[in-house]
Symmetry: C2
Subunit: 436 residues, 2 copies
């Protein structure tokens, strides 16, 4: 078979990674796909920039529209990132009946519904394995490998920067701001780290995972999102003492007739595999009703891991060239006319256990008041920890783990606890997930 002709938009780190991997593994890829992958042209804003990949044999241009309009090109690879011009270019390629492979999570999370609808009309595929979990084949696993299951829930560490920071905080006992600064020096965190540490990047990815797990439209604006900026070294230490680790999770879970969609830090029992996913690595735990728990682990970012996912998509798309379009794997795992609009529950209806950390004047009756407030609301206490007060401190810490409870109930209890005049600083709350 003739090689498939690919046009590449974007020659940044990932674009160059793809060029390198396709060149280095050309023979392995051809042995598998039965044909080569030929990157015939590439566009970049600045062609003068020095790049870490060999571009000879690739036609270069600063005008991406040349590529999406080239009748020779069968597959367009979008590695520009961000919303525009990526959105216009992807839609343009689709309009010209070209298959598209993209690593752009923001684009898919925010504009996937529109893009997939156009792609279906035009009979082409827009593939996006690299958009979630870097090199981990999590899209393929959920979309194809678990097709016999009703997915009950999934929980993932899907932002490498955040996980690197939390791992360092635990290993070195350091505070968030300290570790963030180091991560920025090392290049693991951006100069503006908002997307990573506030959970927006994870929310983009969770949006996509939830859609393919449950067959619901992409709805980024419904994801409850909480970052890791308020986690302290003390919380990390308390969690360890209780047998837990703090991780930043994206969680999608069926609850009754609705879906919980939430990104937030959480305590996880330290013997769970997910609690042992460290540094910049990612992992997603998926529970299907037939298969039970399955976990997928690997590098969540980086040029070559992302290239691994991109090339797998290129090979899949190449195979799709001869499939009756109605028989392909649907973009969102479920047939477009079979998507259902299950309601996304407000966070007040979510159910989690809770870690509560209070500082209160060290006097009798405080713990009794707190347990009474929780008890009145039928919130069970699983554990209480009272770390030794610091020398000369006017107040002492109380750490409480509750049983799972509806968020609105814990909110009420917290309001009541905060109104006790014994508290010296506002209470800290972190969700606890047993992942069962």
């Amino acid at each position: 078979m003739k090689p498939v002709k690919v046009g590449l938009l974007g020659l940044g780190t990932v674009g160059c990674g793809v060029v390198n991997v396709v060149a280095r593994n050309a023979s392995e890829i051809r042995r598998r796909a039965g044909r080569g992958i030929d990157i015939v042209s590439a566009s970049a804003r600045n062609l003068a920039r020095r790049r870490e990949c060999e571009l000879s044999g690739i036609e270069l241009t600063t005008d991406p529209s040349i590529i999406i309009n080239d009748p020779e090109i069968q597959v367009v690879l979008e590695l520009i990132g961000g919303i525009e011009p990526a959105r216009t270019l992807v839609l343009g390629a689709v309009e010209n009946r070209k298959h598209v492979v993209t690593a752009n999570k923001a684009l898919i999370a925010l504009h996937g519904n529109e893009i997939f609808a156009r792609a279906s009309e035009k009979g082409v595929t827009v593939a996006f394995e690299a958009a979630v979990g870097g090199g981990i084949p999590i899209i393929k696993a959920i979309r194809e490998a678990l097709s016999g299951n009703t997915i009950e829930w999934l929980a993932g560490i899907i932002n490498g920067t955040g996980n690197f920071i939390l791992t360092e905080m635990r290993d070195k006992g350091r505070d968030f701001a300290d570790v963030l600064a180091e991560a920025q020096r090392l290049g693991y965190a951006e100069a503006d780290p908002t997307f990573d540490v506030e959970g927006i990047d994870a929310a983009h990815k969770l949006t996509i995972l939830a859609s393919i797990a449950f067959g619901i439209p992409l709805q980024f604006d419904r994801v409850y999102t909480e970052g890791i900026t308020r986690i302290t070294a003390k919380d990390v230490r308390n969690a360890a003492e209780l047998g837990y680790r703090i991780k930043h999770l994206g969680i999608a879970r069926r609850q009754g007739e609705g879906i919980e969609l939430r990104v937030h830090p959480a305590l996880i029992p330290h013997r769970r595999l997910l609690a042992n996913v460290d540094g910049v690595m990612n992992a997603v735990l998926v529970r299907g009703d037939a298969v039970g728990p399955t976990l997928y682990y690997g590098p969540g970012a980086g040029a070559e891991p992302t290239a691994s996912a991109v090339v797998a998509d290129l090979v899949d798309v190449t195979r799709d060239l001869t499939v009756d379009p109605t028989n392909r794997v649907p973009h969102l795992a479920f047939q477009p006319d079979a998507l259902v609009d299950l309601p996304v529950l407000p966070i007040s209806q979510a159910i989690s256990a809770y870690y509560l950390h209070l500082r209160a004047f060290d006097r009798p009756g405080v713990l009794a008041d707190i347990t009474r407030i929780l008890g009145e609301r039928k919130i069970s206490i699983e554990a209480v920890l009272q770390p030794q007060p610091e020398e000369g401190a006017k107040d002492a810490s109380i750490v409480i783990l509750t049983a799972p409870v509806r968020e609105s109930h814990i909110d009420e209890a917290i309001t009541a606890i905060q109104s006790l005049d014994a508290l010296t600083v506002p209470l800290t709350r972190i969700r606890v997930e047993t992942l069962k």
Copy 2:
């Protein structure tokens, strides 16, 4: 689209699991595949047996040849297990140009080359996701998701019974025979546990994984296989003290121009995810040159996890009905004419670090003799542990961890050590894998 018509051979635990999952998740499956899966007929040796699944609406027979010859049937599901009559029936179905889905690892490991060759000639697919790792989509991950990589190595816990036994030995400090007896009582181990505890089952699975990872023919008879029957509670304890856990691994690794293929117990550093895969769970760690390390975890056996893999194959095969056969995912990941016969290295050429456990008379010079023997063969020592001798014992334990070394060199060293007259019992050796 019309439902795909499936004929099921074998109504044991897994067969019933598939019937149940297909019925329970009929709507989720139809929403994904765009068509239903209709199990129209099933065969079993004894139709009078009580079964844990609803068989109304399924035509039952004791004669499987009726199913493979039924022109209505599009896909044959082989869940009989063992070699015959499974092999003849699968080849018969292929001859009749029916796609086949099977969970039969022994059949694929021993007769896959023949079966896939016939299937290719006839333009049909024989799918086998359920043959390795139960519900873990490890075949799909390696075959499709890592297609952009040169696979460097893989290492897996691929036998649940063995892993259950080793986990119990560690958790409860008990000996192998004890735990095996309990596993048999609980139904986790067969009355004849040879296949599981001697590593034959794992070797079947490793044969398959190595083939799809490297593009080599299936060659079960080349796998070096060592069971877990000689692991003692003391080894487990020594390993823990050194920061390791003992797991039964299947390992396939490129080394020079050849491939190492080996099943044996191994010490793994306790912080590795694979060291924390406990009980009957399975996991496979795969390292690709582009993606780096990826891990896939889940239940390695059981009716419903296996059914999950079987249904995923059924959906994939259904999609294949309209694909140009040359464009399908090849059976062994690589195009049949692109398989290469990389030599499988004899175990004497494999490279591993080593755990050595000796008992010797407690007198001066013994450790010096041993370190001299290792030093003369340029085998570096990474750690030495000398547990407190038992009260009144005439001899003492010495535990040594070596650096990685070619097996033939450690063999020579062990022969020399054994010939020291200080040893009171034969030396114990277990490989150590850092999985890097």
